[in-house]
Symmetry: C2
Subunit: 452 residues, 2 copies
Amino acid sequence: MLTLKTADTYLENHLQENLAELAELCAQPSVAAQNWGMEETAHLAAKMLKKRGFTVKIKETEGFPVILAERKGLSDKTILFYNHYDVQPAEPLELWDSPPFEPEQRDGKMYARGVNDDKGHFTSRLFAIDAILAQGEELPCNTKFILEGEEEIGSIHLPNFVKTHTKELAADACIWECGGVDHRGVPMQYLGLRGICYVELSVETATSDVHSGLGGSIFPNAAWRLTWALHSLKGQDERIRIPGFYDPIVPPSARDKELLSALPPVAEEYKTRYGIDHFLKGLTDGLELRTAAVFEPTCTICGLTSGYQGNGSKTVLPAKASAKVDFRLVPNQTPAQVLEQLRTHLDAEGFPDVKINFLGGGPAARTDPDDPFVKLVVDTAKEVYGVPMEISPMIGGSGPNYAFVHYLNLPVVGAGIGDPGSNAHAPNENIRLDLYLKGAQHIARILEAFGR
Amino acid sequence: MLTLKTADTYLENHLQENLAELAELCAQPSVAAQNWGMEETAHLAAKMLKKRGFTVKIKETEGFPVILAERKGLSDKTILFYNHYDVQPAEPLELWDSPPFEPEQRDGKMYARGVNDDKGHFTSRLFAIDAILAQGEELPCNTKFILEGEEEIGSIHLPNFVKTHTKELAADACIWECGGVDHRGVPMQYLGLRGICYVELSVETATSDVHSGLGGSIFPNAAWRLTWALHSLKGQDERIRIPGFYDPIVPPSARDKELLSALPPVAEEYKTRYGIDHFLKGLTDGLELRTAAVFEPTCTICGLTSGYQGNGSKTVLPAKASAKVDFRLVPNQTPAQVLEQLRTHLDAEGFPDVKINFLGGGPAARTDPDDPFVKLVVDTAKEVYGVPMEISPMIGGSGPNYAFVHYLNLPVVGAGIGDPGSNAHAPNENIRLDLYLKGAQHIARILEAFGR
């Protein structure tokens, strides 16, 4: 008979053993944006699932493979874990204190690219499963995994994969890839993700760079064209100027605002952590800041490149310029509509020469905060963390959760190992080992309670 | 007795021998912006001058050394050659057909970074001197050289060097570093250079990059700050918006317009060479295009850098962004005034956070088109090129000619080996060997006529 106490003891005693598996996974680079180590990582993750008695399939897609895994359990109910085996690029490398693909433990943390996002989350699920199987017990419920390799590049092929594999993925509830505690150490439940539409805008004005003394007064300059085109998208007032962009938006409900209002302050935490001295639009904290952070769409320049970028000066008039731009979308915006609006806008503003390359995206999706599975996850957290889990109706990040919400009709609920110092997507990505252990304990409880 | 015919024969027979010296000089990188190979190149250039019997001093400065060289001649008059031994960075390397620092002859050209700008110009002067000395003759006039190592980074220390070395540099006329034929093969005399004020604009909004899903709606974004600040400098109408920027400008004179009007069309040549399909401000060709190209100041973005610039997507909100910007100045603008106006403007537009790093510059300077030395250089060109040299009162590029015009009171006149396909400041920089020979023949004639 499965006991959580025995599971907890197992987890405490086998932490380093499991972390060794996590380190092995992190030492294997899997940068989707750079097509680096993807097949190898998929096979390594599949091997780890097989070791736990799962039936595993590595399904080819037009992009990187998707891993499907399944193991029967005692009850008829099925839980589906969504994770991804790809990671963000590690650049800028010089800002890492230890090499990003050489996992290192120090000061109660483990550092590596992907150790939080999302390899540590994946292995924490395996760790919880180990703690149950080690008791000689079957899993409490049918348990499925889906791991994709394109989350960090916009999950380009996953939604369609989900749409065409609804049978294999059929389940009653879904545990999302991430979760964790906030800056107070309180476990947080984030029930929705914004959508995203990620584009590269590029412009080419000549076949080669030109001496700026020759062309400066009379030749078109790609860097200026890009600057003006970007400026046409959003001005200093932060209002996105693309006609129709805000039209489809569904504002947060009274229940959303109630949940947001119950959340603790974040302003000082953000200021300290990121060294910023103010927030946009005069926001200070409270409901307004929190609402803006997650229920407003964005237009973010993620990168700019043109001409000479080295030391000192080079007097050159650039022939090419490009920008990476992400739009975070709120219900009911869609990437397709944003792309169309963006093209129409750029043309109307005199920028037909600015090309749009869609690099991936999907709409926002939410889970009902009053779904029973939300309650189960929230209730099981208390014993682990000692304080009640708090519910946030939406977070600012994005992911392919909409495919699980809309195509599989699942409540999608988070449970994880993260904390605000994890540096996801940044140098020195890390996990706290104490939270890693707690994350596994929480997953063990979710499986147990769900199987009852 | 010096004969030009004998000199011409010498030059024809010793071309490859001299080009081997040029290749040796080009194989030695001297990228001032990257502090690469500067001392080595200064010594190599000095060695080449000593070989011709010049008294050579390598003078230390706060930046890269300046080379001074002198050899007495038959007449009391003194000619001063200004050249520079530094070169532009070779990047982007992937666009070169042969490595930039491995000089290669093909199709009647020599390719290398700096082969035109300015090492080939320097060795073409030496080649002409060889042709005179080989006849057992003294040089027709006192001959001085000044070579600096910071031309491509704004000649930061040269003007002050000239100001404090007026005795050593005393002369009656100055041959500038460059010159050559236009797209018709007609030798051109360019009598003035615009000034330049080169700055790096940079902004930092946080201590680290942030996940764009977290901060997109509420955190300041360095890339947006930079985009907006740049937009405040110049809009799509190409008008520079810095208050007072245009105030000091001296418009072109009637004589300037007469000279510009006599010049041939350039529009089709530019369009073909650079693959551009239009000029700015509705310009097509003729006096308007030519006037705009050289008598209007500019604000050129030479480079942009921020955030993620690799393949695919990375959802990051950049903490830092910077732009390289050059302002080309016309009489009587000054870099100091532009810097002050720029700071005032950025502050007034709400960009006190945008830092200005001055990377070098100087004012414009011009030589009187009716100076007798201009006539000498123009007249001696005809026999070499077969067609009369045409006079342009001003070109769009910049250089420290103002120090020679204003501090040494010299007419500064061009004579050189360039052509519009030289790709100065761009990949595949090259010289045409036939024009290299003609350039040396012209210099020999200038020395002979000046000594009379």
